[in-house]
């Protein structure tokens, strides 16, 4: 064992290795760092040897994962030391530097008098400079030089030059046409082993590295038209394809196949004749069956790539059995490739086989791959189902085998299909019923079965074991063990089953009603409300049957799954099988995709009257959440529903079970809560004027700053909105997607009753909100609560205004307050992987969907503070996703009635000047992008007023505070 030749370094390494634990290691490292620091600081006359030793020590420490924050100058000083300076130059950067340096480097590279060692480093140095600043290479002058350089005989220099050429051509293929023929010559020379020095043959193969690089360069040219060049290139490629065999020596195998696979890629790229293509497929077919795992892996990968080329699908299909075998390979890398390939090659002829294989594999697949597998199986089943009942079978099996990995989107889609295909309904209900009989049933299965049986079990009533009276206990058996949201869904199923049982079954009615009765006092508001309302509804007898009619057909729309696949498929490789699938227009998808025009109405039209008496035209919804306790009437509220632009299925099914509004009941009860969105009586006042109190109330002043309160509430969900000697107004908000419920607490602090209390909410146009009337009088030391339901229609920075006033027996006090229903309340943090982020970021190119702005006058803050601020606004910062520590990238989902919009944010700060930064926001919706950008900008500029008020930050909920006053 040779020692490093630096005793001090060896001793230090030994010491670190002898440390018993991490703590000791840290102490030793700290000691050494302190030592180096003093040496660098105090001892001017360090010898180059000492300097070098210390820099190596620091490098070692750095490798162990400790932060070394000094010594850079010393390192740079070492670089400029007289020793082999030229090779280190590439490490230094900077634009001006690169411009002044580039000509010298180019000279070195071209010069024939230089040693090859210097020239190849000059080539890479130029590449490095070129990456920093593309202007250092002027295409016109340089392309001829490049062509000359390709005549080089020295393989080492040629390799480095080829690396440079890859980058140059990747950026500008047109500029380097003259290099194509030279590249072909190089491959010819290499494959014929002409003039190749012995030391450059690697396991008998002439510089495989250079061969691969050269063929890579050729793939960056869009196509090669010149018939002569094309001919000689194909001859070479043909030779490579034919002349490669699998041999015993692993290293030789690797090298020869590296060349072979690159040749295959090039053949595909050049769009060769059919014969050659089928030859390639045949070769790949051979590879995916060999024992050598590397070759099998690359065989599968290249076959997937091959699918892009027309006309080979059929020949690839011949290898289906072998590919399926690879799906069971112990190596996950290979399984992934095989999954991609199967997904890519699936069509209507083999869908049944492939999907069934995927389902079988699902039970044994490891967790890392299951979710992807489930999604892919669902998509294939949907796209290529030979018949619909098979599709239903597949999805139900999927839920049974991997319920945890089946997202809600998947079962929503089944419901949609079944609803839209009458032939399927009885079959689906019967199948779902069978699944419920199994011993362990996944919750998702309970949901989908509950839904289907609620809707369609009456179609089975005559079958044995399927009468309503028998179905109900089967479902209800699962009830105690499911989540509250599922409980709510099941309650809806019960009432439907009850209403559909013809003739009425008193025994069933008794059972169902006892369930409703039991849950009238349930903790969860949604379940409780459904239980109470359904109880009342069911008492109304057969006249209510219409209300509980089957769901109308869904508008046909793009599959949410495919959308999801598009979103999750962050793979930057353009060849990704998912994308490939999406591009194929020739599928016989079960549902005709009917995309609505991008300009379609995306806002729900306010429903001023339910005029149409025809079923299936107006789609009524039972929106229980908005039915206030003041309505004793039938709580059916019809709301207009216009097909939403984003066609988000989730929105449909999450709405409390949609029930058609029977026109009769609406007409009979004109006073029911058909609440058209009232135009606000006054438009929201100028926000700047809001904090100003009315003139006649000047004697009563708030005890704090209303804008501070407002700002604090923007970041949290509860707190004080306003307070003066007589009244305290608190707010508590709950937000879920596009909906929110804000409870406004009005607390009388005084010993005298407050009279003529008035509070009106003036909503801006992008919010739908309704405040029930507040009581006119608040008794002394008492508190009233006013619930306020909010629905976000689209993105906007405007805020609603609360106009309130009261009389404290002496004077009338009033004020207009901004309500903190700001954009961030409708945001939800979206943790995102870097791959997804990059893919989506790239796909959203330029305005209006991606907007960039340099923001000046930013309140200076550290990156960590900014991160905290973003997180407070539910914009989820992904640390480390941007390699530059001065940048922040973040993602959030904005919810509005028309669906969820994923928004990506990037902030680039300048550590030298923290008062300015560059902000980029991207989303699929231009107006959301704009509003979010403006919103973030406001927060960054207006930060002082937010952090300046710690007093209100510690406050926990007005309810508690006001209770303390009583």
């Amino acid at each position: 064992m040779a020692l490093s030749g630096m005793r001090g370094l060896s001793v230090f390494i030994s010491d670190v290795r002898n440390c018993q634990n991490k703590e000791q290691e840290r102490l030793r490292v700290d000691k050494e760092l302190a030592n180096i620091r003093t040496k660098f600081k105090h001892e001017k006359g360090l010898t180059p040897y000492e300097k070098k030793k210390y820099v190596w020590k620091m490098l070692y420490i750095y490798m162990l994962g400790y932060d070394v924050d000094f010594g850079h100058m010393e390192t740079v000083a070492l670089i400029s030391a007289p020793k082999y300076a030229e090779k280190q130059v590439g490490n230094v950067g900077g634009k001006e530097f690169s411009e002044s340096l580039a000509p010298d480097v180019q000279k070195l590279l071209i010069s024939s008098s230089c040693r090859p060692l210097v020239r190849k480093k000059a080539a890479l140095c130029l590449l490095r400079l070129y990456r920093k600043n593309a202007d250092v290479v002027n295409v016109e002058g340089w392309s001829d030089r490049m062509a000359q350089l390709l005549d080089e005989r020295d393989i080492g220099v040629l390799t480095a030059v080829m690396s440079l050429l890859v980058s140059l051509v990747a950026n500008n293929p047109d500029g380097y046409w003259n290099c194509v023929s030279k590249c072909v010559k190089i491959i010819e020379r290499l494959t014929r082993s002409q003039d190749i020095p012995q030391e450059y043959t690697y396991y008998g193969i002439p510089s495989p590295w250079l061969q691969v690089k050269t063929m890579r360069v050729l793939q960056y040219f869009p196509s090669i038209e010149d018939p002569n060049i094309r001919k000689s290139l194909f001859e070479v490629l043909q030779r490579i394809l034919m002349g490669t065999d699998v041999v015993k020596n692993v290293n030789k195998n690797n090298a020869s196949h590296a060349v072979l696979f690159e040749a295959l890629s090039l053949v595909m790229h050049l769009d060769a004749e059919k014969d050659m293509m089928s030859q390639c497929v045949a070769l790949l077919g051979k590879f995916i069956a060999v024992r050598e795992p590397n070759i099998r892996y690359l065989g599968l990968e290249n076959m997937t790539r091959m699918l892009l080329v027309a006309d080979v699908q059929e020949s690839i299909k011949r290898h289906q059995a072998q590919i399926i075998t690879s799906l069971k390979d112990p190596d996950i890398s290979i399984r992934r490739r095989s999954l991609d390939l199967l997904y890519g090659m699936c069509d209507v002829t083999n869908a049944k086989d492939i999907v069934e294989e995927l389902l079988q594999y699902l039970t044994t697949a490891d967790f890392a791959i299951r979710e992807e597998l489930a999604l892919k199986a669902a998509i294939l089943a949907e796209k290529f189902a030979p018949d619909l009942s098979w599709y239903v079978d597949v999805i139900l099996q999927l839920i049974e085998k991997a319920g945890d990995f089946v997202s809600d989107d998947i079962w929503y889609r089944v419901v949609q299909f079944v609803t839209n295909n009458e032939d399927l309904q009885a079959y689906a209900a019967a199948t779902a019923r069978d699944y419920l009989d199994k011993p362990a049933v996944h919750e998702t299965m309970v949901k989908v079965a509950g839904y289907l049986l609620g809707e369609y079990s009456h179609l089975l009533a005559r079958r044995p074991g399927c009468s309503p009276r028998e179905i109900f206990p089967i479902i209800h058996d699962k009830f105690p063990n499911v989540a509250t949201s599922t409980k709510a869904l099941l309650l809806s199923a019960y009432i439907k089953i009850l209403m559909h049982s013809q003739p009425g079954d008193p025994e069933l009615q008794k059972q169902v009603l006892s369930v409703f009765k039991k849950y009238e006092t349930y903790l969860d508001a949604e379940v409780q409300q459904r239980a109470i309302e359904y109880f009342v509804l069911s008492q109304k007898g057969p006249s209510m049957v219409d209300i509980m009619a089957e769901m109308p057909k869904f508008p046909e729309r793009q599959s949410a799954l495919l959308k999801k696949a598009e979103d999750t498929d962050g793979d930057a490789a353009e060849l990704s099988a998912t994308k490939l699938r999406l591009q194929q227009q020739t599928s016989n998808a079960v549902v005709v995709v009917n995309q609505h025009s991008a300009n379609g109405t995306s806002h729900p039209a306010p429903l001023s009257s339910v005029s149409s008496g025809t079923r299936n035209i107006d789609r009524g919804f039972l929106e229980q959440s908005q039915v206030g306790p003041q309505h004793n009437d039938v709580p059916v509220k019809a709301a207009g529903m216009v097909q939403s632009l984003t066609a988000d299925l989730l929105g449909d099914l999450l709405a409390p079970l949609a029930i058609e509004a029977a026109p009769a009941s609406v007409a009979a009860t004109p006073t029911t809560a058909i609440l058209p969105l009232e135009e606000p009586p006054v438009g929201p006042a100028d926000p700047l004027a809001l904090a100003v109190l009315d003139g006649n109330s000047s004697s009563v002043q708030p005890v704090g700053s209303t804008s501070d309160w407002f700002n604090a509430l923007c970041k949290k969900d509860s707190g004080v909105l306003y307070e003066d000697p007589f009244i305290q107004i608190g707010i508590k908000g709950e937000w879920r997607g596009p909906q929110g419920r804000v409870v406004i607490f009005l607390g009388n602090k005084h010993t005298v009753a407050l009279t003529s209390v008035r509070a009106i909410v003036l909503p801006p146009s992008h919010l739908r909100m309704q405040l029930p009337p507040v009581p006119e009088l608040i008794p002394p030391r008492a508190q009233v609560q006013c619930p306020l339901d909010v629905l976000s229609l689209h993105a906007s920075r405007e805020v609603p205004v609360l106009d309130f006033s009261y009389n404290n027996s002496a004077v009338t006090v009033g004020s207009k307050l901004r309500l903190p229903v700001v954009m961030s309340k409708f945001l939800q943090p979206a943790p995102i992987s870097s791959a997804d982020f990059v893919a989506i970021w790239r796909s959203l190119a330029g305005p209006p969907n991606k907007l960039q702005e340099v923001v000046r006058g930013v309140n200076p803050m550290l990156i960590s503070e900014m991160t905290e601020l973003f997180n407070m606004f539910h914009i989820c910062v992904s640390p480390g996703l941007d390699p530059n520590p001065n940048n922040i990238v973040a993602a959030t989902t904005f919810f509005s009635e028309s669906g969820a919009t994923l928004c990506l944010v990037r902030v680039e700060t300048d550590p030298a000047d923290r008062t300015q930064l560059r902000l980029t926001v991207a989303s699929t919706d231009a107006s959301t992008t704009f509003e979010l950008k403006e919103y973030i900008k406001e927060q960054l500029v207006d930060i002082s007023s937010i952090t300046a008020n710690p007093a209100t930050l510690g406050f926990t909920g007005p309810a508690a505070a006001l209770a303390g006053l009583l």
């Binding site: 590439g90 390799t159 690697y202």
Partner: protein, 150 residues
């Protein structure tokens, strides 16, 4: 390009780390741990490639080779040929073997500066400079001579 070259032992302890892009030190450690988690779960007769898109960026791959107690790992992007990188690892290891005469883990621990020098002669700025082991040897010997002379 080559984004990083790592040598770590089968316990996950890094023996050589070289990143060709700016990566903060915490992130480097995170990447090393993540890579170890992937490699330690892979069997002997698996292929030499693993997906690294969740570790160091989209379309990144690990190309690695296992020698005795050490993993030699190259993190590369989609523009590199996997098998060619495997060849390169072989060249790297063969060169080390010649320099240290039967290289073992301890050689690399105590001579990590020399290992860096060798690597710098093979890969520079994320690109391959030289694939000829003899040339690399010669350049490295010259540098060692120069060092001793100082």
């Amino acid at each position: 390009m080559i984004n990083a070259v790592l040598v770590m032992n089968t316990q996950g302890k890094p023996r050589l780390t070289k990143f060709y892009k700016q990566v903060p030190v915490e992130k480097q450690q995170e990447i090393i741990r993540a890579i170890y988690a992937v490699l330690s779960s892979r069997g002997e007769n698996y292929c030499n490639f693993a997906d690294a898109s969740n570790i160091s960026g989209s379309d990144n791959k690990l190309v690695y080779k296992h020698f005795a107690t050490l993993y030699f790992i190259f993190v590369v992007d989609g523009a590199e040929s996997e098998l060619a990188i495997l060849d390169l690892i072989q060249v790297f290891v063969e060169t080390l073997d010649r320099i240290f005469k039967n290289v073992c883990e301890l050689d690399i621990v105590y001579n990590f500066n020399k290992v860096h020098t060798v690597l710098d002669e093979i890969v520079m700025g994320g690109q391959v400079v030289e694939t000829n082991s003899a040339d690399v040897m010669k350049a490295v010997q010259d540098i060692f001579k120069l060092e001793r002379a100082v």
